[in-house]
């Protein structure tokens, strides 16, 4: 057995797992920075909770639903509580099953933490717990099974290398469904429905978050090779250049649209580039990766605008635009720019078609099931805090604390 394990690959996947882990700190800080100081304990507790709870739930039930069995739609319970996982190689890989599990567990929790930003500043903590448990324990595993676990989309040839769809769109569409039920924050839209700016509280924290996410993405994408091959440097390069392109595009657009370069959108643009390159990172050239990043950076600016001003949906950190919309674009971009079978690079449309099917099917399942979950929660324990709680802030009311007790605040 030990013959088949490649220790170099094993080490790579472990290190990649650690890098994905640090993305949770990235999400925590960027979401805390982009929301108000009266909700900082709330958002931090939610994000840290997500990785803690996610590690447990994914071990108990999520992993087995995603990665066991022969089913086209969902796994079975053969790895319940990760029973049976050991250091023998995971089928098809040269790394121990345990290493494969660790990497997957880190991934699963990120999809939940995406939701946390969109629902920030008004969701009840208990309701958030339920949403995220269902997401990590059921919804995410189903999609992961479809695409990576031997389900119907993988049979179709759907290509989502590191999870533009599996992780990011799943998080983004869950966020979308949840905030539709949840409604906008108090004061987000004026009496004429015009969106108002609600500034976050700490740009330094937000920047720490964005760059830690970029850093962690070097585990997210290159690690998804699940081996250290000669192709890995390319994946790291495409990841990096798409992030750069996304940021520069968004920064430039805000400069020419609004008159001033906008730090919030700049950071969002970087994430947009990263999310978009996640699906195609292993199959496009660095030059096309730059193009994908630039486009994602443009998309995210207009998506934020559209979701807010036209759909009247309130997403404090832009999670739906960054993860949902750019996750969709990234998935599609495989069909456009893949060196092997992209429409633009090779003239063939078949992969694009598969990518569309997979994206739409994912949207359908995730959006509808998240809508049901949110609605049921809303009708039972309630999804949203009362207005006074929201106005006073969740920290003092739900968590009994103040995130910066020494400072005088507005």
């Amino acid at each position: 057995m030990s013959m088949e394990i490649n220790l170099l690959d094993t080490m790579w996947v472990l290190i990649a797992s650690f890098l994905v882990f640090i993305m949770h700190l990235g999400f925590t800080t960027i979401e805390a920075g982009l929301t108000r100081s009266k909700n900082t304990i709330s958002i931090i507790t939610k994000n840290v909770f997500t990785i803690a709870m996610g590690s447990i739930i994914f071990m108990v039930i999520g992993f087995t639903l995603a990665f066991s069995g022969e089913g086209k739609l969902i796994g079975d319970l053969s790895y319940f509580m990760i029973n049976g996982l050991d250091s023998s190689p995971w089928p098809g890989l040269m790394i121990p099953a345990m290493a494969f599990f660790l990497f997957q567990a880190m991934f699963a929790a990120t999809s939940a933490t995406i939701v946390s930003g969109a629902v920030a500043e008004r969701i009840k903590f208990s309701a958030y717990i339920l949403v995220s448990v269902v997401l990590v324990g059921l919804i995410y595993p189903i999609i992961a099974h479809w695409i990576w676990g031997g389900g119907w989309l993988s049979s179709l040839g759907f290509h989502d290398f590191a999870g533009s769809t599996v992780v990011h769109s799943v998080g983004g569409w869950t966020a979308l469904a949840t905030v539709i039920i949840l409604g906008p924050r108090f004061g987000k839209f004026d009496s004429n429905g015009k969106p108002q700016a609600i500034a976050g509280h700490n740009i330094g924290l937000a920047a720490i978050g964005c760059l830690l996410l970029w850093f962690g993405w070097f585990g997210f994408n290159p690690g998804s090779e699940l081996a250290l091959t000669e192709n890995v440097p390319l994946i790291a390069i495409t990841t990096n250049i798409a992030a750069a392109g996304g940021g520069i595009a968004a920064l430039t657009i805000t400069k020419f649209k609004g008159g001033k370069p906008d730090i919030g959108m700049f950071l969002n643009g970087i994430l947009a580039g990263l999310v978009a390159i996640t699906a195609p990172c292993a199959v496009v050239s660095p030059q096309w990766a730059l193009v994908i990043g630039l486009i994602a950076g443009i998309i995210v600016v207009y998506a934020v605008e559209f979701i807010e001003a036209k759909l009247k949906i309130d997403d404090p950190v832009g999670a739906i635009s960054v993860h949902g919309v750019c996750g969709f674009f990234g998935t599609i971009s495989v069909g456009l720019f893949s060196s092997a079978n992209g429409l633009i690079t090779t003239g063939s449309a078949s992969q694009l078609f598969v990518q569309l099917i997979g994206s739409v099917a994912t949207f359908g399942l995730v959006f509808v099931s998240a809508l049901i979950v949110a609605k049921v929660i809303d009708m039972t324990i309630g999804l949203r805090v009362p207005a006074e709680v929201e106005i006073k802030g969740l920290d003092i009311t739900e968590f009994g604390g103040d995130s910066y007790p020494d400072f005088i605040k507005m």
Binding site: I391, G400, G401, K409
Partner: protein, 112 residues
């Protein structure tokens, strides 16, 4: 001329500003303050241990107005700042002898 000092709840500042606007009363100076009174304070926790904070955040609005407007302004503030629960705040009116506008050196009623 009189100075009106109103201590109000922070969450009421937008309403009070809007109400004063519609009165044409734009000039004002506000300060973040903390206050205590009949209202009981709040209990917070820190690493599991609870503690009491008796000084709660309030906003102080200062307006200097012509004497004849005092009642109107005071009533407007009371209406827009009231919730009916302890902690709504106080309004103090006191004399002002002279007012200057720094920009122009204008004085008294012209300067308000």
């Amino acid at each position: 001329m009189k100075k009106i000092e109103a201590i109000i709840r922070p969450e009421k500042i937008q309403d009070v500003k809007a109400a004063l606007d519609s009165l044409g009363c734009v000039g004002m100076t506000i300060t973040e303050v903390k206050g205590r009174g009949k209202q009981g304070g709040v209990t917070q926790q820190w690493r599991g241990r609870q503690y009491h904070i008796d000084l709660l955040p309030k906003i102080k609005i200062e307006l200097v107005v012509k004497t004849k407007y005092v009642d109107k302004v005071v009533n407007t503030i009371i209406e827009s700042a009231k919730t009916g629960q302890t902690g709504d705040g106080k309004i103090f009116v006191s004399p002002v002898e002279k007012v200057y506008r720094v920009r122009t050196g204008e004085i008294d009623e012209e300067a308000i």
